[in-house]
């Protein structure tokens, strides 16, 4: 697509989005606004297996989207690699590859470990990155509020991210935890690995309390790793939600007050949106993978 065509496509998309946002039916159809509804997960398809709720809902759609993007986009680009990159897409992927390879894995792990764990850390990075990024594209997945276009009820556009739900980062953090404990035990054996948690020079009765603190620190790692990613994305979405109109609706200050406040918070929403997609989405994927690499290195390191 040429640059001019892309510009027109962008403006067409912007017009449609603005039109949808200013749809009077939409405004009147949402008499009660509660911010937590934005994160509610009504099931699209109800599935229950042995009493466990396995319904397909908004979060599942986002996870699948991120997983499909991770595998399809990267393998398609890898198949059409050229020695002299003629597309910006390949250059972008090469920058991402260099970040994952040189900075995250090679920078924190020794060569043998880096070669072994690069596929895992790279996949983790791309999955979290895609999951964060598609979270900032408004998608028509909000079925709790609908809008009618020509008599048909459509779900409204909403922002959501799989990583803004604690269960997804928690599962990723648990996978990382199991991986680095496994790697540590494989490298040193159970007894030597657990003994390695206690710093050299600690002797006698102090071993017990220090070991307890170390065990606690490994549990806290799971919490900090998952909550860091989850809370960053959740807070970003809440900020965009409040700045992009939530505050105006909640305060309800009349026509003039709402307009002034809406313009001010709307401008802030654009700034925060750029901050989120420009920095937070990539930085959180980066930090998650860097910490994974650091934990893996710490598990196999000889000295504590």
């Amino acid at each position: 697509m040429s640059l001019a065509a892309r510009k027109y496509a962008f403006f067409a998309w912007l017009t449609v989005m603005t039109g949808l946002l200013m749809n009077p039916a939409l405004a009147s159809a949402a008499p009660e606004f509660s911010p937590e509804d934005e994160f509610a997960l009504p099931p699209y398809v109800s599935i229950e297996v042995f009493g466990i709720d396995m319904s397909i809902n908004k979060a599942v759609v986002y996870i699948l989207g991120a997983a499909i993007l991770t595998t399809v986009v990267v393998s398609l680009i890898a198949r059409n690699m050229k020695v002299r990159p003629d597309s910006r897409t390949q250059t972008t992927v090469e920058i991402a590859y260099s970040l994952m390879k040189d900075n995250i894995t090679d920078g924190n792990l020794d060569p043998k470990m880096a070669a072994r764990w690069f596929p895992f850390i790279g996949t983790l990075f791309l999955f979290i990155w895609f999951s964060n990024m598609i979270g900032y594209i408004p998608l028509p997945l909000n079925t709790s509020h609908t809008m009618s276009i020509a008599g048909i009820e459509f779900p409204t556009f909403a922002l959501y991210a799989a990583t803004a739900n604690i269960s997804v980062p928690l599962v990723l953090a648990l996978v990382v935890t199991v991986s680095y404990h496994f790697e540590g035990i494989r490298a040193k054996g159970v007894v030597k690995y657990v003994r390695g948690w206690v710093p050299a020079g600690v002797e006698g009765f102090m071993v017990g309390p220090i070991l307890l603190i170390e065990v606690l620190s490994h549990i806290v790692r799971i919490i900090s790793l998952s909550v860091r990613l989850y809370a960053n994305i959740l807070a970003g979405h809440l900020l965009l939600l409040f700045m992009g109109g939530g505050l105006v609706v909640l305060l309800g200050m009349g026509l003039i007050g709402s307009t002034v406040l809406g313009l001010a918070t709307g401008a802030l929403a654009v700034v925060f949106f750029l901050f989120e997609i420009g920095l937070v989405a990539t930085l959180q994927a980066f930090i998650f993978c860097t910490l994974t690499a650091i934990y893996l290195d710490g598990a196999v390191a000889e000295e504590h």
Partner: protein, 88 residues
């Protein structure tokens, strides 16, 4: 006059709502205070380090982003604790 009209149950319900809101506000606000100081330290020290050793700029910057993300996350621990206080 209004106080006299409110019975004990309503008053305690108001107090609970107020306490929850204060938990959210104070939790996030105090966490933001500490995080702000921490972030100031990180960027200030980075500027200092880069002006001393400009040739190490890229290396220092990658550590700076690591420190930024780790420090920035602490505000969200307060925020999540506030949300738990508010909703749970």
């Amino acid at each position: 006059m209004i106080l006299a009209a409110v019975d004990v149950e309503t008053a305690s319900a108001y107090a609970e709502t107020a306490g929850r809101a204060m938990g959210l506000g104070l939790g996030t606000g105090l966490a933001a205070l500490g995080t702000g100081i921490g972030l100031g330290f990180i960027f200030g020290k980075t500027i200092e380090a880069v002006s001393r050793q400009p040739e190490l700029k890229s290396e220092i910057q990658s550590i700076q982003w690591l420190g930024f993300a780790l420090t920035e996350a602490t505000v969200f621990y307060g925020f999540i604790a506030g949300l738990i206080a508010f909703f749970v």
